[in-house]
Amino acid sequence: MNPRRWWILAAALPCVLVLHGAEAGRMLLGLEGEAAAVAAWLAVFWPFAWAKATWRRRAIEWVAILRDPLSRAGLFTVLGLAFVGIFAPLLVVHSPDLMGDAVIDRYAAPSVSHWMGTDLLGRDVFSRVVHGARVSLGIAVASVVVSVGLGTMIGALAAWHGRWVDGVLMRFTDLALAFPRLFLVLLLVALVEPGPGWIVVVLGATGWMGVARVVRGQVLQQREVEYVEAARALGVPDLEVLRRHVLPATLAPVLALSTLRVGNAILAESFLSFLGLGVQDPWVSWGMLIRAGRDNLVDAWWLAVFPGAAITWTVLGFNLLGDGLRDALDPRSLSGTGSLDD
């Protein structure tokens, strides 16, 4: 480990200790208090500290690709939201679960002390929206990770093996695409049990088809490339060839696609939670907040307006970034269908 990495960790540790009760750690590992905060922090920053120099350089290139100011706005929105999600407890004055006085604090309009007002139980809406970012973003990102994993596996396997495997897998993809996704998601979520983990699985398992098609196309192209042929001729095992020579080439389009998909997943999760089929009470998500706001839309408009604005802004950030990535990677692909492609 070089000294520079030690330095990064040393700087990180005090911050870690300040982070009380990071729910991200609790959510992922079932840890409590400082341990949870440390885990959350390490999960986010260790990859950076450990990353090879080439990977770091590549990351910088990725940012540089986004010459377009709108795409950069999207990138900064996304980074800002990640920051908000991780540091939520430090950013808010009130705890999201702290109930106020049953009479005075109930349905208080936005003011200096409560930027977004309070709800039925006198809880601060601003802190709830900030904490909602964790759950909404966490679920969306995790579900896209699941679907990218699935899609990459299926697409790569189909293209690499070809012949009947390709036929079977692609017919399977067609079948999955023939499902009206929302109906399927509603069905699976309603029939089993609502909860963050299951929503991640369901959204992930119903969103891999686009990725599979993109990966398949890329792998089919890569298979014919000379260095891949050379590697195979040298007797490098198939998996190794896939991992080292073929899949890296699919990274760029998949990244653009999955960024767009995160926005989509946020919308899907928020709708599920809005119906009451998604995230349940001890958790806070934006869709849930809107659901609560619907009961008193007229007198307490702030309950529904702010979480909805948060969703729109977040999804817009991901869409701008994804669009920018796609244009940067392939300037000719002007045919943006955006969130339509599910």
């Binding site: 067609d174 709708f271 943006g336």
Partner: protein
């Protein structure tokens, strides 16, 4: 063309069958059944058994599957466990409502989207391109259900222009046609707007992008060199190839509209398929859930089929491939 058509029809049927089968097993193999919700804590075990037997839930899954598939082929979708009505009746009430909503939104968003796309292309200015790009992205990013709530708050509550939801309560034979029509439009205005908004943006955007690409082609340059007036180049040479991209949106647009219709119907209390589905899911009304999923699957597959046929119609190269 006939071979192509038949092959596409056959795969479509297979797809519908696949979706129905997967859905059936998903519903029947997950724990819990509607009887749990029908019965109270004091229902005796024998009564539970009797209820299960009455709905045929005590038989093996495979038997139920064959039975249900047979029913579907005969047009018998079973009986709703909650409302005790034939599922077909429930669907026959809900589907036209959803079609009313989605078809209006569909027609409207294609009409407005095409007009908008043409206008954007003709303008051609850099800033308007950027503005329209951002504008469409904003529209994609709006959660449908939230947009509906906001419109209700603004247009129904504060301005009192439109009813906040539900269906028109006047019958055609009681009031004049005009009143009836206006009532319908007033009730449909907000849901259709909310439902069609994102679609309008995508139609406009896709049309503009593919027109811009087509206008760079050699045959357009040739047409220009021949001295044809811009309107002919635009309308005759560029529009047809450019509309191929639009056709794919027809197919994609149907699942999109159906999903959107669920949110719209829930928010605006529109008694269509989406609302029926959500209510049936909450009540675990299995026959209804299966039926609505089936109908939406048929619509999605049909949409894709139509899109493929339209492709073949617009682009002769696809026809000759088969």
């Amino acid at each position: 063309m006939t071979v192509y058509l038949l092959r596409r029809l056959f795969t479509s049927l297979l797809l519908v069958w696949g979706v129905l089968t997967v859905t059936f097993f998903m519903v029947h193999l997950t724990p819990g059944d509607p009887i749990d919700l029908l019965s109270g804590p004091e229902t005796s075990a024998e009564d539970l058994e009797r209820l299960r037997a009455a709905y045929g839930l005590d038989r093996p899954v495979a038997v139920r599957y064959v039975d249900w598939m047979g029913g579907v082929l005969r047009g018998d979708l079973g009986i709703s466990i909650v409302s005790q009505r034939p599922v077909l009746d429930v669907l026959l009430e809900a589907v036209p409502r959803t079609l009313q909503l989605t078809v209006s939104a569909f027609v409207l968003h294609f009409a407005v989207g095409i007009a908008l796309g043409l206008w954007w292309t003709r303008r051609g200015a850099r800033w308007s391109t950027r503005a329209s790009d951002v504008g469409t992205l904003v529209l994609y990013s709006l959660p449908t259900f939230w947009l509906g709530l906001m419109l209700q708050l603004l247009l129904s509550y504060h301005l009192r222009w439109l009813p906040s939801g539900g269906t028109p309560s006047v019958a055609l034979d009681e009031v004049g046609f005009l009143t009836w029509f206006v009532e319908n439009v007033r009730h449909l205005a907000m849901p259709v707007f909310v439902l069609g908004l994102a679609g309008t943006a995508s139609v406009a955007r896709v049309l503009r992008n593919s027109l811009l690409l087509t206008l760079q082609e050699d045959f357009v340059r040739t047409a220009r060199a021949k001295g044809l007036p811009p309107r002919v180049i635009f309308g005759k040479h560029a529009l047809r190839p450019a509309s191929v991209a639009l056709v794919s949106l027809v197919g994609l647009g149907i699942p999109f509209l159906l999903s959107g219709a669920v949110a719209t119907e829930v928010v605006f209390g529109w008694p269509g398929m989406g609302r029926v589905t959500v209510e049936a899911l909450m009540a675990r009304d299995t026959p209804v859930v299966l039926a609505t999923t089936a109908v939406s699957a048929v619509l999605v597959v049909l949409g894709n089929l139509l899109a493929d046929l339209a492709y073949a119609w617009v682009d002769p190269r696809i026809r000759t491939q088969t």
